[in-house]
């Protein structure tokens, strides 16, 4: 019973936390874009425009909910749900801190430490594309269907390098559990560097982050949306809160992907050269590990925004070319080199 309550608290806490990050991200995205483009951005609602997401939420909730007459109603309703559900559920296996000891009970800061957490994430990551395809198909609109088709074509060109990069990580750490991978990144590597995945897998990191941008449908790989080519892509026909769910799902996805990047490559909650557990109390250590983790996550969230307003969109065939002709050979090379290094050092 006690465990059940703790699990429930963890689920609700991380759910609310991720939602909060997604809300703040809409503000960060808009203000960040504005600052990069030499304009102030939304700065009227509240101090620095911080209440803008609230205003947007009220707007989206009070707008008329339109389902086009020729749309397939069931699929149309299902689309946003299919898109945002995997984004939320992927967070279940991501550790958001080390552990916290409350009342003599050790609580792991992770909703579920699944020993195949890795496969779970890969599976759910591929699920999200169904939301886009179903939404695009059900809208009965040529731009929407083009957006959906692009999503599938993009999927098959980035899922392979993404999987190859993950395989190399599995080779390095020898486990599928995200918590064990995070724990293995304590200490130093080669004496001077922090023992982070990025120093063991530099090429793998580049492959992973490029694939992550494609996975999140973000610029420069936002082909399913591509507002300058196909209106708004898969969510052209969506309005009110259905659109809101799509956009929200995108930000939750960003949060999940940033958390994965941090877990795999940037030492999760470990600070470089400092072992927080050695001088902090059990409770303050738990909180500190959580904060360190989200400090790193917030950097990668910002990187998503930063790249978005720097790089123009890739052309459709260029994404395919990049995926098949550059990333997959590099991924195979990375896998081969990793295997070789492990064989030679073992």
């Amino acid at each position: 019973m006690n465990d059940l309550i703790i699990a429930l608290i963890k689920v609700v806490f991380i759910w609310v936390w991720v939602l909060l990050i997604a809300v703040v991200m809409t503000w960060v995205e808009r203000r960040g874009a504005a600052m990069i483009q030499d304009r102030p951005g939304p700065n009227r609602a509240g101090p620095f425009g911080l209440l803008q997401p609230l205003a947007d939420g009220i707007k989206l909730f009070t707008k008329e909910d339109i389902i086009p007459a020729k749309a397939k109603k069931l699929l149309f309703i299902l689309g946003p749900i299919l898109f945002s559900l995997p984004a939320f559920s992927a967070y279940a296996v991501v550790p958001f801190g080390d552990k916290i000891i409350l009342g003599g009970k050790e609580i792991i800061l992770q909703v579920a430490d699944v020993n195949i957490g890795f496969l779970y994430i890969v599976a759910l990551g591929s699920m999200a594309v169904y939301g886009i395809v179903v939404g695009g198909w059900a809208s009965n609109n040529k731009y929407s269907i083009l957006g959906g088709l692009r999503a599938t074509a993009q999927l098959i060109s980035y899922e392979v390098p993404w999987g190859l990069a993950l395989l190399a990580i599995v080779l390095v750490y020898g486990t599928f559990s995200l918590r064990e991978i995070a724990l293995a990144q304590q200490g130093t590597f080669l004496g001077i560097l922090p023992n982070w995945g990025v120093f063991k897998q530099p090429l793998g990191f580049i492959l992973f982050i490029v694939a992550a941008y494609a996975e999140a449908n973000r610029v420069p790989f936002d082909l399913p949306e591509a507002e300058s080519e196909i209106v708004s892509g898969y969510h052209t026909e969506y309005g009110s809160m259905r659109l809101g769910v799509y956009l929200f799902g995108e930000y939750v996805n960003l949060c999940t992907l940033s958390a994965l990047i941090v877990t795999f490559f940037f030492g999760a909650w470990h600070l470089p050269y400092i072992n927080m557990a050695s001088f902090l109390g059990p409770i303050s250590y738990g909180i500190a590990s959580f904060l360190v983790f989200f400090l790193k996550v917030s950097f990668f969230l910002w990187l998503f925004v930063w790249v978005r307003w720097t790089v123009p969109r890739f052309r459709y065939d260029q994404v395919m070319g990049l995926g098949w002709k550059a990333l997959i050979p590099l991924g195979l090379l990375n896998l081969f080199l990793t295997a070789l290094a492990i064989q030679l050092t073992a």
Partner: protein, 225 residues
């Protein structure tokens, strides 16, 4: 001669794309940091290319043509004599002037012997060309600095005399009154008198002066001073 097409040969570092991407991100970072620093300044105009409109306005040009004003002279008398030349010249036909003799006992309020009983400008029709200001023999009309002319109903866009005078008082209070415009030199002076006679006949004094247009425009305000 057509410009020969030169196919760009990309260097290896450009083909790899990653280094170029980092260079681009450096550029956007510079803009970001500059604007973030700027947005913490207290004054409303922080980011150089953006005007935060209601608090922070662009300076207007010295000869800006905004809302009309009916001018008063130094002694606080209305300069307008109600001659109707502005109504005559108005290309949008938006000015209506009703002329009358100054009633007994109210001479202190008006500079001339006649005055405009009503003076209405339809701002929905007005094109703000400034001809009324140029043609006025008394320098009684001027287009002011006010440009926020949006109203809720069409009726509110009919500017009557009190509004035009209020515009003058407001501009004077805020020190935004500019010196009168230099008269435009007249090229075809022969054609002018015939054209202006009927309008000018409203005021006896203006008839004589309008025979040689534009000169009195300059002369009269000086005489008033």
């Amino acid at each position: 001669m057509a410009k020969p097409v030169v196919e760009k040969r990309y260097k290896l570092s450009e083909q790899v794309y990653l280094w170029e991407l980092i260079k681009g991100m450096g550029l956007t970072w510079k803009h970001f940091i500059f604007n973030v620093k700027a947005s913490f300044r207290p004054e409303p105009h922080t980011i150089p290319t953006c005007w935060q409109y209601p608090e922070d306005r662009r300076p207007i040009a010295p000869n800006f043509r905004g809302a009309h004003m009916l001018m008063l002279d130094e002694e606080g008398r209305e300069k307008c004599v109600g001659c109707g030349m502005c109504a005559k010249i108005c290309p949008a036909n938006c000015i209506t002037v009703e002329n009358a003799k100054v009633p007994e006992g109210e001479e202190a309020k008006y500079a001339g012997k006649t005055y405009s009983k009503t003076f209405t400008i339809d701002w929905l029709r007005c094109i703000f060309c400034g001809f009324c200001e140029e043609v006025c023999p008394k320098g009684a009309m001027m287009l002011g600095p006010e440009y926020e002319l949006a109203r809720y109903t069409p009726e509110e866009c009919l500017a009557d005399k009190s509004m035009l005078l209020a515009n003058f008082h407001k501009a004077k209070q805020e020190g935004k009154l500019r010196p009168p415009r230099e008269p435009v030199p007249v090229v075809g002076a022969a054609a002018k008198p015939g054209e202006e006679k009927p309008a000018a006949s409203a005021d006896e004094k203006a008839v004589t002066s309008a025979a040689k247009p534009k000169v009195p425009v300059k002369a009269k305000p000086k005489a008033a001073e």
